[in-house]
Amino acid sequence: MTIAGDSELEGQIAEWRAYVHRRREMHSTDAEELEDHLRNRITELTESGLRADEAFLIAVKRMGTLDELSREFAREHSERLWKQLVLAKEPSAPAAARSRRELPVMLLCAAVAALAVKVPSLFGVDIADDDGSFYVRNMSLFVLPPLAAYFVWQRRVGPRVIGALAALFVLGAIAANAYPLDDGSQSLAITAIHLPLALWLVVGVAYTGGDWRSDRRRMDFVRFSGEWLIYLNLLGAGGGMLMAFTAGTFNAIGLDAEEFIGSWLAPCGFAAAVIVSAWLVEAKQSVIENMAPVLTRVFTPLFAATLLAFLVAVAWTNNGIDVERDALILFDLLLVVVLGLLLYSISARDLTAPPGFFDRMQLALVVSALVIDALVLLAITGRITEWGFTPNKTAALGENIILLANLAWSAWLLLGFVRGRMPFAHLERWQTRYMVVYAAWAWTVVLTFPPLFDFA
């Protein structure tokens, strides 16, 4: 056999292997086993006098068609048709060395987060009988740095970015603890809400591997956030069951497990779940369809219908919106939901696809949310001029304006896109650029609101 014939044969075998690899039913070890068989057969045929390419053709023919093969493999390994998130990865590529360490590193980060939550109890601040506000202020400071650390390791972030991340976390810790915030004060609640948000965006910097200016990376972080939330909820549901069973079974033998659950299982479990969810999102990224865009598809029409019905009801009954204490927050949340629906449909959209029915639906959703919010703002301005500014109202109003601005411009861009005047990418870029505004606002609230309002 000549060397040229040899390399030609290798090329043919490689091509065949590529075809086998494309079948989900057959794993790479199966492909290897089959390839070994193919090579044996070719060797035998060439030894009996056939040319390499002839031997290859016959060997492939005798192997059976790939359709037939995958059907048989599927019958034996039907579980493979369900894309599995494998915990122990197949030892396939040499590049797997790092991904093998992925799991231990994740577990380490999760353990650090879980234990960090318990560190204050060494100094007499326990979460279960924490009538004060320590954990309310600091929970995110225990959980999010390990998450950032995980991404720092995974993305091999440079020392300068690590320094910036550390500085931001320290700044957050100072803001949460240096101000004299009274238990039950509005400022405390505001810090408790805005600090996690601010720190989450810091995690975003780690997630992008320091490349936070890139629009694509930012969009990845948006996708990540949505999936992470879904996974956290799933783990939370499982954790809730675990706690219920722990409490129930120990109760049955007359032991009270509630203290253990309250001061260990729940807080440590939550902290670990934050990291595990992040790892799950990363690990299954290429394995399973993202859930957030699917939920978006389901709920965009439903929310649009509800909002339109609400507007019709307002016009019909001529009832003004009764601005109760919590109304502003409720409508803030509504805007957040609408923005989320918009963001996640953007995150999953083929940027080059022409405008379709769904885009019009989205436009209707955004516009009706805008109209409703305008009505709310109209109603609330009167109240604020009447009663003056409090931290709560100011924060809620600020958020409302930020979201309103985002959605108004989004509606404009969406309208342009639906009418075929603008590429969809503009909308995506607008959303990713706008994230800086959220970060700036969250940090402003955390850092300046308490002194601004005399720690009320």
Binding site: E33, D36, R39, G64, E68, L69, E72, F73
Partner: protein, 124 residues
């Protein structure tokens, strides 16, 4: 002569287990042995041996291990287990019963001689 698909499928498990009962082996060697034992009359599609081996592995009749010779590609070897030997014995009893029954049928209907395949099917 061409043996029908159903018969090939039914005899595959005892054949493979029987071959492995003689010692550890790998896919291609098993297939060659089947070919020799049947005088080339049992024709398998090569690739279909592997799902069968995997099924036997899942059922616990055989164990598999990857072995790498000093130079060369690694290869998956199969070894029969205790349970596989028991299964083989069971299959053997069942096949003996079938063969006995068939022999009775052939003896009582000796008028029917094995018919040689028509010439136009010979080339298949």
């Amino acid at each position: 002569m061409r043996i029908t698909k159903d018969l090939v499928a039914a005899s595959a498990t005892p054949l493979v287990l029987g071959i492995l009962a003689e010692g550890e082996s790998y896919g291609y060697a098993i297939l060659k042995q089947v070919n020799e034992l049947s005088g080339g009359q049992l024709e398998w599609t090569d690739g279909l041996l592997y799902p069968l081996l995997h099924r036997l592995e899942r059922l616990g009749h055989v164990e598999a291990s990857w072995q790498t010779p000093p130079e060369g590609r690694r290869r998956k070897y199969y070894r029969i287990t205790e349970q596989g030997l028991a299964e083989l014995a069971e299959q053997r009893r069942q096949w003996a019963a079938v063969v006995d029954a068939l022999r009775g049928v052939w003896n009582s209907t000796q008028a029917i001689q094995p018919i040689t395949a028509p010439a136009w099917e010979g080339g298949r």
